[in-house]
């Protein structure tokens, strides 16, 4: 299981979610691949990031099993990880 996180430096929601995600992975460690929409353009586009940033793509054996975008709380993210992990 791993998470692909797509953000951009100009996106305030991404700053907020970076902070929250760091708290989440302290409690529930999970491999995170961080991509920047502009600096890692080619790699980011492989995941068709869509219209709202940031994008969190939960992957199992390189297969996307869940995707969330925009702002979420720490509790919501932990719940998602628990659901996916179960």
């Amino acid at each position: 299981m791993k998470v692909v996180k797509i953000t951009a430096v100009w996106c305030s929601a991404c700053l907020i979610m970076n902070k929250i995600w760091n708290k989440v992975i302290e409690k529930k460690p999970i491999e995170t691949i961080s991509l920047d929409l502009d600096f890692d353009e080619e790699e980011s586009n492989k995941y068709t990031p869509g219209e709202v940033l940031p994008v969190f793509i939960f992957m199992d054996n390189d297969k996307e099993i869940k995707r969330i975008t925009g702002e979420h709380t720490e509790e919501e993210l932990i719940k998602i990880l628990e659901e996916i992990g179960d």
């Binding site: 100009w10 996106c11 902070k19 219209e51």
Partner: protein, 378 residues
């Protein structure tokens, strides 16, 4: 051509351009040189700096010339953080900042700084009680733009300054790029402000950071003293003279221009407000120069190019962050993803003519119908 993208950049005033050309031709000396030609250039810069200081009611020692607002924003934020990281690494800002602020803060976040975002009310203005509650012992900087560039909401800068004056170790920076020359603010309790000439009918490549004289920051461009110790490099004489000219012209006519743009905004809003396909995102706290609307079901980029075909120019999101397709600022204001997905910005100027708005409106309505039928036929 109908240009309605004045918040992205303004055309250069001919008087400003003339001043730039004359100063560039007549003053060839490096202002840092000791000979006569250098001294003359230095005197010209000093006179321009004096004029800017009078127009903005600040000390001439507080003016730092930069390449534009992006550099001024970087200089203010990084300058404080580099200098005072021993005091703390906590910064407070909003979700309505220009990308040159947000990107700088993300860089700092990657280097261990903690960034908190102020909550906004339903009008998009920051919650002052939330500001008070976010202040910590390790807070070193608060940065809040006076006017958001996409929706035009005016922030309570004076009230924020009044709160922060009780915290002498917290510096207050405001990006005033979208307000200088359009509306006046009391900047008495603002420690640093940024703006650029290209938004006030000046030239691209010059901006200012106004920093209170008693505040020491670290420079981000090193190379020794130039016009100040805070920004090295040979002073751009022509550009500096031109920015003072541009500022004088917009400040002299500020009230008159504001009233005129206000009437234009009302005129256009009255035309747009009853259209069922259009939602007006800008509100009563927005400057009249910025009118953000959503055209439901039509992608902003599609509308931008459809209008471009008729030689009409508007913008989707701020030019500096136009890659994502939803507007963060519109979402922050409306909390409606659909509005943020379909938003465009119309920005007005004292140069805009009422007849241009008539033509724009007629073309816009025609394009909406055309694009809607195209969508339906798909």
């Amino acid at each position: 051509m109908i240009y309605l993208d004045y918040s992205a950049t303004t055309p250069v005033n001919n008087e400003v351009l003339d001043t730039f050309v004359k100063a560039t031709n007549a003053y060839i000396g490096n202002p840092n040189s000791l000979h006569k030609l250098g001294v003359e250039s230095k005197k010209l810069i000093d006179a321009s700096t004096e004029q800017i200081s009078k127009l903005l009611n600040v000390s001439s020692k507080e003016i730092i010339y930069t390449s534009g607002a992006t550099e001024a924003n970087n200089a203010a934020i990084l300058g404080v953080c580099y200098r005072y990281s021993n005091r703390g690494k906590h910064i407070i800002t909003t979700k309505l900042e220009h990308s040159s602020i947000t990107a700088t803060l993300q860089y700092l976040q990657n280097h261990g700084y903690d960034i908190d975002f102020l909550e906004t009310d339903s009008t998009g203005r920051v919650d002052l009680d939330n500001l008070k509650s976010l202040i910590r012992d390790d807070t070193i900087l608060v940065t809040v733009a006076s006017v958001n560039s996409e929706v035009g909401v005016i922030q309570p800068i004076e009230e924020i300054g009044n709160i922060l004056k009780d915290y002498p170790k917290i510096y207050f920076h405001s990006d005033m790029t979208q307000s200088i020359g359009k509306i006046n603010f009391n900047i008495e309790n603002v420690d640093m402000i940024s703006f650029s000439a290209q938004k006030i009918y000046g030239l691209k490549g010059i901006g200012c950071l106004i920093k209170k004289e008693n505040i020491v920051i670290d420079p981000i461009i090193h190379g020794g003293k130039s016009t100040t110790i805070y920004r090295s490099g040979t002073p751009a004489v022509g550009l500096i003279v031109s920015v003072s000219k541009a500022l004088r012209l917009v400040m002299e006519n500020l009230d008159e221009n504001y009233e005129y743009v206000y009437s234009l905004n009302k005129y256009l809003k009255d035309k747009l407000k009853d259209n069922k396909d259009i939602h007006i995102n800008s509100n009563e706290y927005s400057i009249p120069h910025i009118l953000n609307i959503s055209i439901m079901g039509i992608k902003p980029e599609t509308m931008l190019h459809a209008l471009e075909e008729e030689d009409i120019y508007i913008s989707t999101q701020t030019a500096c962050a136009s890659k994502a397709t939803s507007s963060l600022a519109v979402y922050e204001l409306t909390k409606n993803l659909e509005y943020s997905k379909y938003s465009i910005r119309i920005s007005l100027s004292h140069l805009t003519k009422r007849e241009e708005l008539d033509t724009f409106y007629n073309v816009l309505i025609k394009k909406i119908e055309e694009l809607k039928s195209l969508n339906e036929s798909r």
